[in-house]
């Protein structure tokens, strides 16, 4: 990338510089022997053009909006349109969540993001034994189309884009969403949004799996196929590194494991007979934003470049949209501290900057009180304001990829890409992501990193302000959000009424038909649409699929 003669001169200069520093170190030693990034990669004192000597600008950095998209997927990025400020929300009942969505839209949130409670995510109705104590806790309880109608009441589905954090039963919830739109008189082609639909990371890190790997992959490819024909603007999967990172992985592992999952989905879809450029443009990604600002920026850039290369070189994609990695970001819940929780606003600000300087397409910012409980409306507002301040006051949105060309950022981008690629190679050798998960390889690598970090915190090699340094005595935090336990009872009552009011014969017929379809290799989406419209419950539908597909058994790895 640079002139050879000048590089020779630079090498000499660098030698002299190092000499000068070494000399002063005898008298003024540095704060640490070795400096590490947030992911415990060694960081050098100084980076120079020598670190980028072999790099070709066009091949590896290039221009935003062009292959390999290191600098972003749009040519002018936030000068054109800011990222979507998408706050993940949902709790208690559909009625209350509906209120929160309307509040967020009024506050300037530009997309909805639905959090479901755990029974919904695992396909149990609110009156199931395992749902006890969990209904409406971490998200909204959806038992049937009736709840979904309430959830989106008064929200025109052709005007908003909706992201739904739903995985194992994603096909069912998507069918409900399409059915609600239909009732609003909106056709499926007009719907915009995302379902997470990423089962592999559920096995790895997040835990809301239901079915074994193979039928789960089939449900995913059924969704790909159905949406490419009927819901063309829908992002059919959000391949997620977020939870992998939350589980304790490093930045490079986050990229490596997420892209390995991405490869597995692409391969499954190709095997199901889909054409790469028919579905790849609708793949989207989801990453974490941690505190090490520069490492995180490099991570996003590395992920974008690596995905573009994989799509082009490995899968022979032709459509540039297939090569563009679009991603959502969420700030890191695991970095929030229960101690001196006000400090979390500062952490979230740094993480927001990381995501924006890294070129994210949408962002959720966590609230300061999330290490203690679900966030209150006030703390959610501050979190949203953090994004708005970065967008409108910080100035970082005025130019595209402003950190490009920093010797450190570019060197770090290369380093993360190489390390992630090395993980992908190892996973290929193990037979792909699904196999590497069954073997426990991915989970073990993450756990090793998580445990090593915990030890560093306890040895004070890693400083967490307010936790292992600068502690104060604190009084019990006030004003935390509590979900009324009556929610579970109300939801059960609603179910009872629903079951007595609906046309049971239609339900039975629809479920029997779904069973037949699931047993064969026909696409399940049309049968699911019919079933949800009869007000068959999520639990009833999932039970049919459980019966046909069986359930996943987790390998317990510590």
């Amino acid at each position: 990338m640079y002139d050879e003669k000048k590089m020779m001169g630079l090498k000499e200069e660098l030698g002299l510089y190092n000499g000068r520093v070494e000399k002063s170190l005898a008298r003024f030693p540095e704060r640490k022997e070795v400096f590490y990034s947030g992911s415990k990669e060694e960081v050098n004192r100084l980076y120079t053009p020598l670190d980028l000597e072999d790099q070709d600008f066009g091949e590896s950095i290039g221009f935003p909006g062009s292959y390999p998209y290191t600098r972003g997927v749009q040519p002018n990025m936030y000068r054109g349109r800011l990222w979507t400020m998408r706050m993940y929300a949902g709790f208690a009942t559909a009625e209350e969540s509906n209120q929160r969505y309307k509040f967020l839209v009024e506050q300037g949130s530009s997309g909805l993001s639905v959090a479901f409670d755990l029974p919904t995510q695992i396909g149990y109705d609110s009156d199931h034994d395992l749902s006890e104590g969990e209904v409406g806790k971490v998200g909204v309880a959806i038992d049937s189309l009736m709840d979904m109608e309430v959830l989106f009441d008064g929200i025109p589905l052709d005007k908003v884009s909706t992201s739904m954090t739903i995985n194992a039963p994603a096909a069912v919830l998507l069918a409900m969403y399409i059915a609600v739109a239909e009732k609003q008189g909106i056709s499926a082609e007009k719907l915009r949004g995302t379902i997470q639909n990423d089962i592999l990371k559920e096995y790895i890190a997040r835990g809301t799996y239901i079915f074994p790997t193979e039928p789960s992959m089939r449900l995913i490819t059924d969704i790909f196929a159905y949406c490419s024909e009927h819901v063309p603007q829908w992002n059919t999967i959000s391949i997620s590194g977020y939870h992998i990172r939350e589980a304790g992985s490093t930045a490079a592992q986050e990229v490596g494991f997420t892209l390995a999952d991405g490869i597995a989905y692409v391969e499954a879809a190709l095997e199901a007979g889909l054409l790469i450029d028919d579905f790849a443009p609708r793949l989207s990604f989801f990453f974490n934003a941690h505190n090490d600002l520069l490492e995180e920026v490099a991570k996003y850039r590395a992920a974008r470049r690596l995905w573009a290369r994989i799509m082009k070189e490995r899968f022979d994609a032709k459509d540039p949209k297939s090569m563009m990695m679009k991603f959502h970001t969420q700030t890191a819940g695991s970095t929030l501290t229960a101690q001196q929780s006000e400090n979390n606003i500062v952490r979230v600000t740094i993480q927001t900057l990381a995501a924006v300087l890294g070129g994210t397409q949408s962002l959720h910012t966590n609230s300061k009180d999330e290490a203690l409980a679900l966030p209150t409306e006030e703390s959610v507002r501050t979190a949203l304001r953090t994004q708005q301040i970065v967008a409108h006051e910080s100035g970082v949105t005025n130019t595209v990829d402003p950190l490009a060309g920093s010797y450190y950022i570019e060197a770090k981008t290369n380093e993360i890409e190489e390390e992630a690629m090395e993980y992908i190679r190892r996973i290929d050798d193990l037979g792909g992501a699904a196999k590497a998960i069954d073997d426990g390889f991915i989970q073990r690598e993450i756990m090793d990193a998580a445990y090593s970090y915990q030890k560093d915190v306890e040895n004070e090699e890693a400083i967490v302000v307010g936790v292992n340094k600068y502690q104060v005595e604190e009084s019990t935090p006030q004003n935390l959000l509590r979900v009324d336990p009556i929610v579970g009872e109300n939801q059960k009552e609603k179910l009872r009424l629903l079951r007595s009011a609906r046309d049971q014969e239609a339900v039975d017929q629809a479920l029997a038909h779904l069973k037949t379809v699931a047993q064969e290799d026909e696409n399940v989406m049309p049968a699911l649409l019919v079933a949800v419209k009869t007000y068959a419950t999520l639990g009833e539908i999932t039970d049919v699929l459980r019966e046909v597909f069986g359930e996943y058994k987790q390998a317990v790895i510590i």
Partner: protein, 131 residues
């Protein structure tokens, strides 16, 4: 030589956040204890059954779903019912301060909230198991 302390690390409820459970399982193991980890989504019955079966000295559960006020008292009740009243019962996770007195009344001997060093939990278990 003294027999090592046996601990069942359990994950009740439906949440899949097992980083805490796994980190504590490793830390207890590194501290010389014998550790059995149940894996995700265990009912109170399954946890108590495993604790009795494995003849453990301590049941340590991790919960981040918000269902602690329902599930932890249930585990305590079952422990007593199944003859495990001598088993030390501790918990960790995202549990608001305000819920701690209630949980302590229901047999949870200690609650380790986010940011607790593993050494603190280890020491508590070492000092409080009945042997």
């Amino acid at each position: 030589m003294e027999k090592p302390i046996r601990v069942l690390v359990g994950k009740p409820g439906l949440d899949g956040h097992d980083r805490g459970a796994k980190v504590i399982a490793r830390a207890l193991r590194d501290a010389g204890m014998e550790v059995i980890y149940t894996g995700l989504r265990q009912t109170a019955e399954q946890i108590v059954h495993a604790a009795i079966q494995e003849d453990v000295d301590c049941v340590a559960v991790s919960i981040l779903s918000g269902a602690h006020n329902t599930l932890l008292p249930k585990i305590n009740e079952l422990l007593i019912k199944e003859g495990g009243e001598d088993i030390l019962f501790v918990a960790g996770g995202v549990i608001p301060e305000a819920d701690i007195p209630f949980l302590k009344e229901h047999g949870v001997k200690a609650i380790f909230t986010p940011g607790t060093p593993t050494t603190v939990s280890i020491r508590f278990i070492e000092e409080h198991v009945k042997r």
